[in-house]
Symmetry: C2
Subunit: 147 residues, 2 copies
């Protein structure tokens, strides 16, 4: 998890606000939106599996655009410097690591229902990583497309 985060941070190191806002394709996502999306997905899983509830109104307002991306993401996520995104990523991750530390390895085998399928906590947090890696691949590609 730390290794994947390290590669994400390397992929965005030194980007300006303008570069973070750059849209590679008309119906695509800027790097800033993908970074906030990575944090939003992790936040969503925290709420669902650590807190055992749905996001409240405040959380929907703060994370909705980043979670769903698309038109809403393009409208709402722009103009922020890299530090803003890094701080959000770090804050969300800090809670995940805290919660991990308070559990033992057996918890990873706890079954749950996710997206209509039976899963376990190991798969849930693998999926958080998988989403980050998927978007890191896109970030690397968008970075090559910067004007």
């Amino acid at each position: 998890m730390n290794y994947v985060r390290q590669t994400t941070l390397e992929a965005v190191a030194g980007l300006s606000t303008q570069e973070l806002d750059f849209l590679p394709i008309e119906n695509g996502n800027c790097i800033g939106a993908l970074l906030l999306h990575i944090a939003a997905v992790e936040k969503g899983f925290q709420i669902e599996f650590f807190d055992g509830r749905s996001p409240n109104e405040e959380e929907e307002l703060k994370w909705g655009a980043a979670y769903s991306l698309g038109q809403k993401g393009r409208e709402e996520i722009k103009g922020a410097p890299l530090d803003f995104y890094l701080k959000e990523l770090e804050e969300v991750r800090a809670r995940t690591l805290e919660e991990f530390q308070s559990r033992d390895d057996n918890w990873l085998k706890d079954t749950c229902i996710w997206d209509g399928h039976e899963a376990n906590q190991h798969f849930i947090w693998f999926h958080v990583l998988e989403d980050e890696i998927n978007h890191r691949g896109q970030i690397r590609m968008i970075r090559k497309m910067l004007p």
Copy 2:
């Protein structure tokens, strides 16, 4: 591993040769090249860690362009139908699964040196998956860019 492969296959389902050859950016990679790269990376790790040797001349010739991508990949990897790429992916994966079946879970903790760092087999095969997920993210994005 099967889950990730399933998502890769879904990301490319139904693509034509022309679509597999489409270059999203001048110095980028087409989807076909990324698919062959996914197989080439796995093949490379098989040779290094299952066979304990470096790739031979024949292997270099067959997999070199897909492994390194870039200019060589753009020149050499094109014109093939989806089935060609799927067959290569499947053949390489079949050996990985066979080798896994002949080992027990303790083998995953075996340490090794990779890219100058100490690693273990668990990390090695996580990295194979990580590379596939990274490029699947790019494939999804290139698919949205198809003319």
